[in-house]
Amino acid sequence: MAVALPMAGVTEDVWIPTACDMCYNGCTVQVHRVDGVAVKIEGIPGVGPNYGKTCAKGLSALMNVYSPNRVQAPMVRTNPQKGVGVDPGWKEISWDEALDLFASKIKAAMDKDPRSILTHTFDRYTYSVAKAFSTAVGSPNVTMGSAGIFCGNGTHPVAFTLTASNEIHDDLKYCNHLLMFGASAGFVGGHNAMGYSVEMQDARQRGMKLTVVDPVLNYAASHADEWIPIRPGTDAAFALAMMREWVIVQDHYDKTFLKRHTNATYLVGADGRYIRDKATNKPLVGIAATGAALPFDQAPSDEAALEGTFTVDGVQATPAFVVFKKHLEPYTAEYASKVTSVPAATITRVAHEVVEAASIGQTIQLEGDTYPLRTAAISWYRGISAHRHAMASGMLMGQLNMLLGAVDVPGGVLNSSSMGPTWRPNLDPDGFIYPGNPLAGHMKPALPRRKVSAPETLELQELFPTSVYARAMLWLGLLEGDKFGLPYKCEVLVTSRGNIMQTSGDPDTMAKAMKTIGFIVSLNPFEDETAAFADLLLPDQHSLERLTPLVGNPNNFTNAASVDESGTWNFQQPVVKVVEKARNWGEVLIDVAFRAGIGPDMNTALNAACHITGEYQLKRDQKYTWEDFSDRWTKSTVGADHGLDYFRKNGYLKDEARLAKYAYPLIHHGGRVPLYLEHFLDAGVAVKAYTDSRDIEWDVSDYSAVMDFQPCLTEKQAPAQFDMWLVNQKLPFMAGTYSAENPLLMDLAKRNSKVFNIGINRATAARKGIVDGDEIWIETPIGKKVKGIARLTEGIHPECASAPGMFGRTTAGNKDAIGKDGSRGVHFNNLVQFTLDRMDTVSAALDSCVKIKISKA
């Protein structure tokens, strides 16, 4: 791939393929290098997963590689006082000294309690190594922190529920009407950001209708057929009213899907639990024609009843769907209108349009099989997840898709990590699917049912039996772990490429939590806010300097190839010379493991975490170079002919086109998905029993088999003068805090006042005497106060103001990103209240409903 094109006076002129690192989608890119200097980045025409396209972030990656503000050498703290803005008194030391110190702290912590070691990163590409390190030390504490605080809590558990995969994506090949709640997928946001944006563009040109429900006219809404402004945190009421419209008013939903592929027909008793067969313990279904009750797997699904009453051994029972339908009754469009501020006629109209577009009952022939064709789907993400009742809202989004029958079929929402010939879901004893992919065999879905136990993890995951993670609870585990029965304190934090001080809620609370940690090692290219708490700061390589195997993987959720499209394998290779003392942080972890005396376990853990097989497995007693490890992992995963040499030469490898049977597995796997969340009931009882036993107030109201709307606490508690919400708005050229470390992207933001300033509805601003460009104060009920510049717009709900992106960096790592004018933007998370009562105790989401008052500065 590297082609020499010498020009006059130029001794080298090459394009080098690699993978982008400016968000975690791993687009395949090529870097133009002239005389050893990287001068341009662009896509490779047609190559996935990004179809040759590159976003503004990817194009800007050059900016930081040559920055003089990078961490230049290993440094140790001399000032014991820690905090953002406090000089750590860094003293330069050698790598040898640094690694010995690092290893000695790991050894000491292991001697005390290995669980006291916490590894944190948002580096998807090296996560397996971080996980292996954590495994080798014997700790369950490895986390991605960051987005798990606001983002995926109402998405991943639902994705598992619907598709036995951790992520879902909409089938833009066949969808004719996409209804999107609080999301940016298809608009340079979400997973496979660029690839999906290309597919979105194709779908829109084909005529797919797009309706966006969001408080802000975001990038998705600005390209949609219709934008429906909604009050923050009320999407659940909208969804419930739509379902009521379909089920109770119109009697228009996919009954066949419910009977064949869900538990809607499973009989439940007065306590909401399944009625089970005495002999087999299988849930029973009622047969409408005979009145008999049979184990679900012995009854013809289409003959099982969705409605009616049955008597089993003298006990009255109804199909679960009866309970589901009854709970929809209060959710009229008029009720939802009061809650959401969306006119009732709009809710009803959208409900009609979507269900009509779904073509319920239609089928399509693909590769010799007959598939249900459901040409409408519901998509959602952070807007749903960043609330006190994230799990409930997310499950309701999933249930909308179930009622349409739009799950893992052409046109619906599809699993996005379980594709490929190795995938098969397993079935639990009640017939429900759960991940069976050997590459994802360690995931934690809600089914099969998990036990609640005394917390062993700093994130208190054991108290979240139906969630996939509990990342937002880290501060609570650090500060109050003993109250929850956690038997140790955090002794060592290893953190790299993730900035928990900036991406958690209120930084003051997070700072207190950070100060409880005995020793912190930060491996970073820049000294960020989290590094302000580090005891040891180690220079990490820039993405254009590092070797990282298997960044792009067709089996990964960031690839998510649609039917007939190919997934892509790619990797990162050094494109420019590494600045003198920077090292690849994955390699550093392996080195430290050997120095700490746990090298053999590190190798075993690397084999397990990376699924390295056969002759490529690392032997326990041998130390491998990063190159050798990378080559083994790559060959084991992609094949003997496709090791590092292949990728160095070719940059990427296109996988085979995805077959319909993998893209649309519903009719092939024979399993079910739970519309009725019976497994939540016992989970809630167990959580309550544990928290009661320790006198902890813990809300279990969302552990319900049917989900209801509940308002966020802010709505109930804020005094009347706090009459607006501040909402956070995603920008396509900002992802993670490191975007705000990039001078080019910050410059782009600042030059565009439409995205840098605080959006306020024009009519609202007029009432408050605020004009475009005014300096304003934003105040919260807990006394947080920040200054911003007003930007007046019709593109925001009248009761809201919007703070875009991930701005307001305090130290910013790269001070050139802040620039000479000193403007940094508003740090939204700084205003978010970080207390237990603001958290979803089912999904561990942190409520980002922030009530504010605004005034002229």
Binding site: R115, Y127, T135, T613
Partner: protein, 99 residues
């Protein structure tokens, strides 16, 4: 009889209190038999960490002579393919999940 060298890595090491041991099992024994034997030695906490509903828990990776147990028969995988058998039991931390 089958001689089985068992290596423990990750969180499970704390539960069993050792990093490796040798177990002797009757001829024809399977992974299920080995795990039952280890449960008898190390108690309910061992089983709770490794098994879910009688099968390998999602986060438990077991390698038998370098092969992933899930791919060679799971709980029914035989242990007499090599003498002595080498079984590595690893408890992994949580998976990477998007966002």
């Amino acid at each position: 009889m089958i001689q089985c060298k068992v290596i423990f890595a990750g969180l499970i090491k704390r539960v069993v209190g050792t990093s490796e041991m040798t177990v002797t099992l009757p001829a024809g024994s399977t992974l299920g038999d080995l795990l039952a034997d280890l449960t008898a030695r190390f108690g309910q906490e061992f089983e709770d960490k490794i098994l879910l509903n009688g099968d390998l828990a999602n986060h438990a990776v077991v390698m038998i002579d370098g092969d992933y147990a899930r791919e060679v028969g799971g709980m029914q995988a035989r242990l007499d393919r090599q003498t002595p058998a080498q079984v590595e039991i690893v408890l992994l931390g949580p998976p990477l999940l998007g966002g």
